[in-house]
């Protein structure tokens, strides 16, 4: 195969020396990235963008944690604090976690199904480049007169309409752009999966990462338009005098919440299903044993996705829903624990009687299983309506969702990054640094978010810049943990840069126990893989052969 530096997408010197393989009109320099339609390059762009946003959103979290280090107002005023909370949530959700998964999808889905690229490559370029524009607009609102969005990432009306800063229309525009990006990206992924699988690969032969993304893409297409719809209604209420969220004209502020959470709840599963997929690849690889219950994993994912459409009001238990509605949403929410439990049990059954080694990707995947489960269990507690009356809008909720999002979604992304880094760069990630990264992250993340369970239960509301004295100790611990966790992520940047520039070379099949088509192409993957469909032979006893 080509010499190691030739076609690696992340190699800085690509595009200068050896162009032999590229189509003749391939532009060079910056334009190469601007115009690229190559799934690997676009995947890298997504991943780098998301890393940048992780640091931007993370820095905002650190502003929050600095202010909350002690009682009293020290560094920022309440209005700026609210902007930080809001922007932190928005940027992490739409700018860091979602694009990271889309980046991984871009890189890995075509390789895992034996396709040469995404189904609609130009649309792919379009989807990516919308994001920097959307987030450029969003971040610029912080500098506008009256400040940026300050109404929480859930932007409940009428705080986000009648009582919002003037920059809100910009905020809405940026949500629209990010939404278009997500919808088109999802369409592309579905079309790729359904249409570009190599001959012989049936749906039930696909890797779980592909499966979870197929279902996630469906969720995205179903709910992002609802978000677009609700922000459009906001826009009309703000600028054109409509009354959607105003009782005086016959509307209802709670209508906003129903529409938002009809999007918002599936959205949180959008941020976790691909994570399940990644973990479902890594655990078998390092346990050197086939994934337990492949078919039930697929059905569980599908059930979670379907259930996610009928649980939205569990975020609204205190808005005064009628009793029957409360009961319905409580039961339906609790039900999600069942398919999710199936997934957790399958992973553990995969470990059981395996031959387990603890490379960095595996460490992150195991960390995921444990800490995601902790977050999931607190989720079930939140689903119990009478108890949620006490938990709602406290740090208990903040603890819950950071457990599922940070050592959940983010850890899975990091696990995937360590797992596939050899495929991207040709080199293994530095094992020692990786371990430091993992252990410091585990300690940091628990130090940050575990005490929030206690402060929340004891009565600390969320989204406040200052608090009663009794919460001081827990907050101090959280803040120390937050800084530890945040700065530990710089190790990852170091690891990444190191792997791009050199390191231990990886063979095509970088991990002994790894399965799947992506491991049949060299490391680093050449810029064009599978120009002709590869041969695919399903395992003899794969579910589709039953």
């Amino acid at each position: 195969m080509a010499s190691e530096s030739t076609h690696a997408v992340l190699q800085p010197n690509v595009g200068t020396a050896e162009h032999g393989h590229h189509p003749a009109q391939m532009p060079t320099g910056i334009m190469r990235w601007v115009l690229t339609t190559n799934h690997k390059e676009i995947g890298s762009l997504y991943l780098l963008f998301s890393l940048l946003m992780l640091f931007v959103g993370g820095s905002m979290a650190l502003v929050i944690r600095a202010e909350l280090f002690q009682p009293g107002l020290q560094y920022v005023q309440p209005e700026f604090f609210n902007q930080m909370t809001t922007m932190h949530g928005l940027i992490m959700v739409f700018g860091a976690i979602m694009p990271a998964f889309v980046g991984l999808a871009n890189w890995m889905i075509p390789m895992q199904i034996g396709a040469p690229d995404m189904a609609l490559p130009r649309l792919n370029n379009f989807s990516f480049w919308l994001l920097p524009v959307a987030f450029g607009i969003l971040l610029s609102t912080l500098l506008m007169e009256g400040g940026g969005p300050n109404f929480g990432w859930t932007f409940y009306a009428p705080l986000s309409t009648t009582y919002a800063p003037p920059s809100t229309s910009f905020f809405i525009m940026s949500i629209h752009l990010a939404g278009i990006s997500s919808i088109l990206g999802a369409i592309n992924i579905i079309a790729t999966i359904l249409n570009l699988r190599t001959p012989g690969m049936r749906l039930m032969d696909m890797s779980l990462f592909v499966w979870t993304w197929l279902i996630t893409a469906f969720l995205l297409i179903a709910v992002m338009p609802v978000l677009a719809g609700v922000v459009t209604m906001m826009l009309l209420d703000i600028n054109f005098g409509t009354s959607f969220f105003d009782a005086a004209g016959g509307g209802d502020p709670v209508l906003f919440q129903h529409l938002f959470w009809f999007f918002g709840h599936p959205e949180v599963y959008i941020m976790i299903l691909p994570a399940f997929g990644i973990v479902s690849l890594i655990v078998p690889t390092f346990a050197r044993k086939r994934l337990f219950g492949y078919a039930s994993m697929v059905y569980a994912t599908a059930s979670i996705a379907l259930l996610s459409f009928v649980v939205w009001a569990h975020h609204m238990f205190t808005v005064g829903l009628p009793l029957t509605a409360e009961l319905f949403f409580m039961y339906s929410t609790m039900l999600i624990a069942v398919p999710t439990g199936v997934k957790v049990f399958n992973w553990i059954a995969t470990l059981f009687r395996g031959s387990i080694s603890f490379e960095v990707p595996m460490l992150f995947a195991l960390g995921f299983i444990v800490m995601f489960t902790i977050g999931g269990l607190s989720g079930v507690m939140l689903a119990i309506v009478p108890a949620d009356f006490q938990y709602h809008d406290t740090y208990f909720v903040v603890a819950h969702f950071h457990y599922v999002l940070v050592p959940g979604a983010l850890f899975a992304i990091l696990a995937g990054a360590y797992y596939w880094m050899p495929k991207w760069t040709g080199h293994y990630a530095d094992e020692t640094l990786g371990r430091w990264h993992f252990w410091l992250s585990v300690i940091g993340v628990n130090l940050t978010f575990f005490p929030m369970h206690f402060s929340g239960l004891a009565g600390m509301p969320r989204r406040i810049p200052d608090y009663a004295l009794q919460f001081a100790d827990f907050n101090m611990i959280s803040s120390i943990g937050g800084f530890l966790f945040g700065f530990s992520q710089l190790i990852f940047v170091w690891v990444l840069v190191k792997a791009i520039r050199g390191g231990e070379k990886a063979p095509a099949k970088a991990w002994e126990g790894a399965e799947g088509l992506e491991w049949t192409v060299p490391c680093p993957a050449p810029i064009h893989t599978f120009e002709t469909p590869p041969k695919f032979v399903p395992e003899v006893d794969s579910p589709s052969r039953h």
Binding site: V34, L35, T36, T37, A115, P116, A119, L120, R122, L123, N125, F126, W129, V133, I137, M144, P166, S167, T168, S169, F170, M173, H176, L177, I180, I187, N188, N195, L196, I221, P225, V226, A228, G229, V230, M233, L236, N239, F240, G241, T242, S243, F244, A247, A248, G249, G250, G251, D252, V254, L255, H258, L259, F262, G320, P322, H528, E531, T532, P533
Partner: protein, 285 residues
Amino acid sequence: MSSQYYVPPTSKWPIIAVAVLGLTAVGAGSLMSYGSGLPFLLAGVVGIALVMYGWFRDVVNESMGGLYDAQMDRSFRQGMGWFIFSEVMFFAAFFGALFYIRVFALPWLDGQGAKGITALLWPDFTASWPLMNTPDPSIGGPNAVINPWTLPLINTLLLVSSSVTLTIAHHALKEDNRPKLTRWLIVTLVLGFVFLVIQGIEYVEAWTQLGLTLQAGIYGSTFFLLTGFHGVHVTIGAIVLLVMLLRVRRGHFSANQHFAFEAGAWYWHFVDVVWIGLFLFVYVF
């Protein structure tokens, strides 16, 4: 199943599209937030039109050049199908809002149902649909509503028949009967155009004579939200069909290869179905 995949070459259109869309967003945002930015907005909108022209022209040329294989065709079809699904969900949000308002919010404000105690705040309010009087009288509802059995009924008939005529045109295309195709496509376009004109007349009448405006409480809000976005979609659909007509006249498409035409037709049928929902729930019931 082909043995070699087709991967389209790079193109400058996507990044230009991003630029003009960003321009539009910034223009619209600053116009609404700070009252200036119209030039950006207009430039952005014109830009979008130009980009669509350029991008689609390239795709058409590639398609005509026989570059696309069956797999690419399937990707386009699925892409279009899922895109329409996303549009369905966009309208679903609006219909959901309409039902929520009618089934829950208004009765509560009027003192019925689980949250009827709310009527303490609005002692003089009685709910009805269409809502002629708002809870806070200073907002004020419309003075009259549109009779569904006049212009809206005509519009329903127009759109439904346009779906039929489009299907006739499609069959003509499949039979490679070009004159018939052109004829029925023109009829479809005329029907769509008349629909839009009537909708325009209705809007003017609503706004000026019936007091039915965006500010006329929740009835006006939902009315214009649903019919307005529907109208925008009819306009887009009509432009697409117009382009199809021009392409037909240039001899594009063949009896078994005419996905662009089919995509336009799907879209048109979708817009038609949305209208049926509108006619029933916005005008009639």
